[in-house]
């Protein structure tokens, strides 16, 4: 592997540190999963960090954390930190993923089967 062409630019971890304003842990206890659905509850403002504004614009309709990460081209961990701030400020609503733990509810599984059968 050549180090000469190594990209230390925009993908460097430091950048994520900057855009997450130095937070490395999500604020509060909002457990954000890859499939937690996020919905905007506020309009973007000019004074807001651009990443926050971008998330608010994206989430007019419910969007999973994974989809936000994909559209913003940011790692999930960075998006999670940004979202935790927005959740704490009540600018977005986080609709928790169904926690099946080790024992998925049979009613939930029935609903999924029913939906798949229509695919």
């Amino acid at each position: 592997m050549s180090t000469a062409g190594r990209d230390w630019g925009e993908d460097a971890p430091e950048r994520f540190y900057v855009i997450t304003r130095g937070h490395t842990q999500p604020a509060g206890r909002a457990a954000l999963d890859l499939v937690t659905l996020i919905v905007s509850r506020a309009e973007p403002t000019p004074s807001m960090p651009p990443e926050h504004a971008a998330i608010l614009r994206l989430c007019g309709s419910p969007l999973s954390v994974a989809e936000i990460s994909a559209y913003l081209r940011l790692p999930v961990s960075a998006v999670t930190v940004l979202l935790a701030d927005l959740v704490a400020e009540e600018r977005v609503e986080a609709r928790a993923s169904v926690p099946p733990a080790l024992l998925p509810d049979r009613a939930l599984l029935e609903a999924v089967m029913h939906g798949l059968q229509r695919l």
Partner: protein, 206 residues
């Protein structure tokens, strides 16, 4: 990736928007060796064009990027392709599949936590690449089904031969599939749901 240009972030197409009634989501993880058709399977059943998400992981680099005499942590970027199936107006199923080095999937924070279960996609010509994956799922207690992707020229193994070769417990379902075909991918997911349903029943009865 420049946020001064964040106005140009492209979001979902209008036809890909979820209704505001979408209240909860569940996930299934598709695992398997490189080139086994995970992304193909995700794409076949997804209602949206598959998206890619990334995570950067730091690992004290023992066997990774071993630079002699230099102690450093290695950064690894792991990408996952994923798709989406609207189950109802309220419930959404996400399907994650990842290319790349399987040993990293388990470092991905939260990928398996809360997942309903997993699909192990295998290429019957190269079963050995699936051993590690199956062992790790078993260690973590993640329920899974095995789907044998029908590659042209791949030998059609009877299920019991596959079970023996993969050292699978008798209760783990094995299904044949063509990862390119939506109905086939759907049937794999249904097999997983039926299996989970049975597991939930047997546990509740205990």
């Amino acid at each position: 990736m420049d946020f001064s240009a964040s106005d140009t972030v492209r979001g979902p197409a209008d036809e890909d928007l979820l209704p505001d009634s979408a209240a909860a989501a569940v996930k299934v993880v598709v695992v398997g060796g490189f080139g086994v058709g995970k992304t193909t399977l995700v794409g076949a059943v997804s209602e949206i064009r598959p998206l890619t998400t990334e995570e950067t992981m730091t690992q004290a680099g023992a066997d990774v990027d071993d630079l002699a005499g230099i102690e450093r942590k290695s950064e690894t970027t792991v990408a996952m392709d994923f798709g989406r199936i609207s189950i109802s107006d309220e419930l959404v199923l996400y399907l994650f599949g990842t290319p790349g080095q399987e040993r990293f999937w388990f470092l991905w924070n939260g990928l398996f936590e809360g997942a309903l279960g997993a699909v192990v996609l295998v290429d019957t010509r190269r079963l050995e690449v699936s051993f590690d994956v199956i062992g790790r799922l078993e260690d973590r207690g993640v329920p899974f089904v095995v789907a044998a992707n029908a590659f042209p020229g791949a030998p059609a193994h009877p299920d019991e031969e596959l079970r023996l070769a993969l050292d699978l417990p008798p209760e783990v379902p094995i299904v044949a599939c063509d990862a390119r075909v939506r109905e086939s991918g759907r049937d794999v997911l249904l097999a997983l749901m039926h299996y989970l349903y049975d597991l939930a029943g047997s546990r509740a009865a205990r």
